[in-house]
């Protein structure tokens, strides 16, 4: 789950991490009121993607009239597919220097990692690539978190020694916040050094581990219903789905197998319309739901179902396929490859329903590409 900037900043504030004063506005008039109360403001589009500044979604406003005009321009913009419905108006900062502070999980170290750099701002990824020495890292023990001396060491390694009295407590608060929210990513970029010598979180990103959502049922993040309608529908159906740009709908079980199915479709001259993993142990309803979703996508000209049952059972999958294709009166070419646990029952059920499973994944990919090209059932 992702959050909008103002949602992240509310949490920073509650955790004692300094943020600029700000107000949310849904209309140009509300933005004018905010500027009236706050003075010169930055008017910032609230969308759950990066690159807002470059897209023209952040404007400085000296007066309430300026703020009204800026909000009028930004509200209604579409940034990377997300319509802007809200702007965050916050006190303009006199920034003298931009730092980077972030926390994520380091899969190679199998630990959380705190990242600090004196060269923050929009180009942080380029800094990481070209000047890795400018990035300091700390892997805190996951049981006790970062200790003050470890954090001091991190700060000195980043060349930010003079700021240690302010930065140290801020880093420890950020780590605690990340733990509270099971954050996969928690980022302050830029962490701004202002003219008066203070540190303030000028922007923030938070993404929560989907696996941990059972601990955060009360949380509401960014409304992502504006994304691709099929992706949004997949999310509602709790399917792991990624939109791609081809015409072959692909359903499989297991990320590795589905990725390999996409590779096979491409080898056979086709292109997949999506990645859809029904996961381990899927029941008939899940298969049904997945098939229904792909059938609703006008981009899909043929569907390939590739199942290798381990924890997933062939008979369950077959029931899902048969019920869905009857109920949806499916007109698209449908090619099934099924093997593994309870494959005999699954294949028999399919054959009785007039669907002949293919012998291998490669043969199935070839067949669906052929059928989709000719539009045959």
């Amino acid at each position: 789950m992702k959050f909008l900037e103002y949602q992240v900043k509310e949490r920073f504030k509650a955790a004692g991490i300094p943020v600029p004063d700000g107000r949310l506005a849904r209309t140009p008039d509300e933005a004018a009121l905010a500027a009236g109360a706050l003075g010169p403001v930055a008017v910032k589009a609230q969308v759950p993607v990066g690159g807002r500044g470059k897209a023209g979604g952040i404007k400085l406003a000296r007066t309430p009239m300026d703020a009204k005009r800026a909000a009028g321009e930004i509200l209604g913009m579409t940034i990377k597919g997300y319509p802007v419905r809200e702007v965050w108006c916050e006190t303009a900062q006199e920034i003298t220097h931009e730092l980077y502070l972030g926390l994520t999980l380091d899969r190679d170290a199998r630990k959380p990692v705190l990242i600090l750099s004196a060269q923050g701002g929009m180009e942080i990824e380029e800094v990481a690539e070209h000047h890795p020495e400018a990035i300091a890292k700390l892997h805190p023990d996951p049981w006790r978190g970062p200790l003050p001396f470890e954090v001091r060491d991190l700060i000195f390694r980043a060349g930010l020694g003079p700021l240690q009295a302010q930065l140290g407590p801020l880093i420890i608060k950020l780590y605690a916040l990340a733990r509270t929210y099971d954050a996969l990513t928690l980022e302050v970029n830029p962490l701004a050094l202002t003219r008066d010598g203070g540190l303030v979180a000028a922007d923030g990103k938070l993404e929560i581990d989907e696996n941990a959502m059972f601990r955060h049922k009360d949380l509401h993040g960014a409304d992502e219903s504006d994304e691709d309608p099929i992706e949004a529908e997949a999310k509602r159906r709790k399917l792991t789905y990624v939109r791609l740009d081809g015409s072959i709908g692909v359903i499989g079980n297991g990320a590795g197998l589905v990725m390999n199915t996409l590779d096979l479709v491409q080898r056979e001259g086709g292109r997949a319309a999506n990645f859809l993993d029904i996961g381990g142990g899927a029941k008939a309803e899940v298969v049904h739901s997945a098939l229904e979703l792909l059938a609703s996508d006008p981009q899909v000209k043929g569907i390939l179902i590739n199942i290798f049952g381990g924890i997933t059972r062939g008979d369950e999958v077959a029931h899902g396929i048969i019920d869905a294709s009857r109920e949806l009166n499916l007109k698209l070419p449908l090619v099934v490859r099924m093997t593994g646990t309870r494959e005999e029952e699954g294949r028999r059920l399919l054959q009785e329903a007039g669907i002949t499973p293919e012998a291998s994944a490669t043969a199935a990919a070839r067949r669906v590409v052929e059928l989709a090209a000719t539009g045959q059932r």
Partner: protein, 298 residues
């Protein structure tokens, strides 16, 4: 010989009484695995599938001397189950559970490391030593005993390779699915080192996928001339667009590390033969053993 599990393994199943736990315990038993105990808190003293159930791993271990645990516990409780097994002195823990919160896993991972215990998974299909023992969910009938070792990050793709090999008459020693999560127990490196030391394994197949850099690390640190056995590699997700997540939280491309190209090149530099399809993997394994692999062996 084989690695990790054998006929002598005494297997405990945590979460045996659940839907998946009981189905797959039955499968494991029918494969010949010596399942000596189950653990389901609150159900101690009962018996299921002819296996005694205990409330705690400590009790089960005291009575049965179990040395391997397979975990089928729901995700919110699975990291705790891993640590319970490690604390009770289980030497090898195989966690099948998918969807464990990552902060739970980084803690469990640190815990098992301190305990000096081997963890496979989570979110993995488990291990099979062909014709001896199985801990996990790899379908029984696809395995065939022989001399190829398999280590893979993907579950279902592992089955694909095992089945392909068996149908071509190329048997396996042990097949290990290390799991698709970002925070794992054993990585390619450690499993490859075990295969290197195993006398019965004459060739090794490595099935990787985009994301992370475990394949690169294994290629640089373990493979190479000193490995002494032919290695056949395969990387899935080569046509996945950069920046898109493909379900596994792990399959995320970031920077240059973790791309299919980076992995393929690292493996090739280490002398592995990298194949484009599973069919080619099967043929290459047969050839590496001097076995003409073909459908005629079916």
């Amino acid at each position: 010989m084989s690695i990790l599990v054998s006929r002598a393994s005494r297997v405990l199943v945590q979460g045996l009484t659940g839907r998946e736990g009981s189905f797959h315990t039955e499968q494991m038993k029918s494969y010949g695995t010596n399942v000596v105990a189950g653990v389901s808190p609150g159900k101690g003293g009962t018996t299921q599938l002819g296996v005694p159930i205990y409330d705690t791993v400590v009790d089960a271990r005291r009575d049965t001397r179990a040395d391997v645990s397979g975990i089928f516990v729901p995700a919110p409780f699975a990291a705790d189950a891993i640590m319970e097994a490690a604390a009770a002195g289980i030497g090898l823990i195989v966690c099948i559970t998918e969807g464990i919160p990552l902060y739970d896993m980084v803690r469990a991972r640190a815990f098992v490391e301190d305990a000096g215990v081997r963890l496979i998974g989570p979110n993995c299909p488990g291990i099979v030593t062909a014709d001896e023992a199985k801990v996990g969910i790899i379908p029984n009938h696809i395995n065939r005993a022989g001399s190829v070792g398999i280590v893979s990050r993907s579950g279902t793709l592992t089955y694909e390779v095992i089945q392909g090999l068996s149908q071509a008459g190329v048997g396996q020693t042990t097949s290990v699915g290390i799991g698709g999560d970002p925070i794992l127990g054993l990585s390619f490196k450690e499993v490859l080192a075990l295969f290197k030391a195993d006398g019965a394994t004459r060739a090794v197949i490595l099935i990787g996928e985009i994301g992370g850099s475990d394949e690169e690390a294994a290629a640089e640190e373990v493979l190479g001339p000193g490995f002494g056995k032919p290695v056949i590699g395969f990387i899935s997700g080569r046509t996945a667009p950069p920046g898109k997540r493909m379900g596994h939280a792990g399959a995320i491309i970031s920077g240059n590390m973790g791309t299919a190209t980076s992995k393929v090149q690292a493996l090739q530099r280490a002398g592995a033969q990298v194949c484009d399809t599973i069919e080619e993997v099967v043929a290459a394994a047969g050839a590496a053993l001097g076995q003409p692999s073909s459908a005629a062996h079916r």
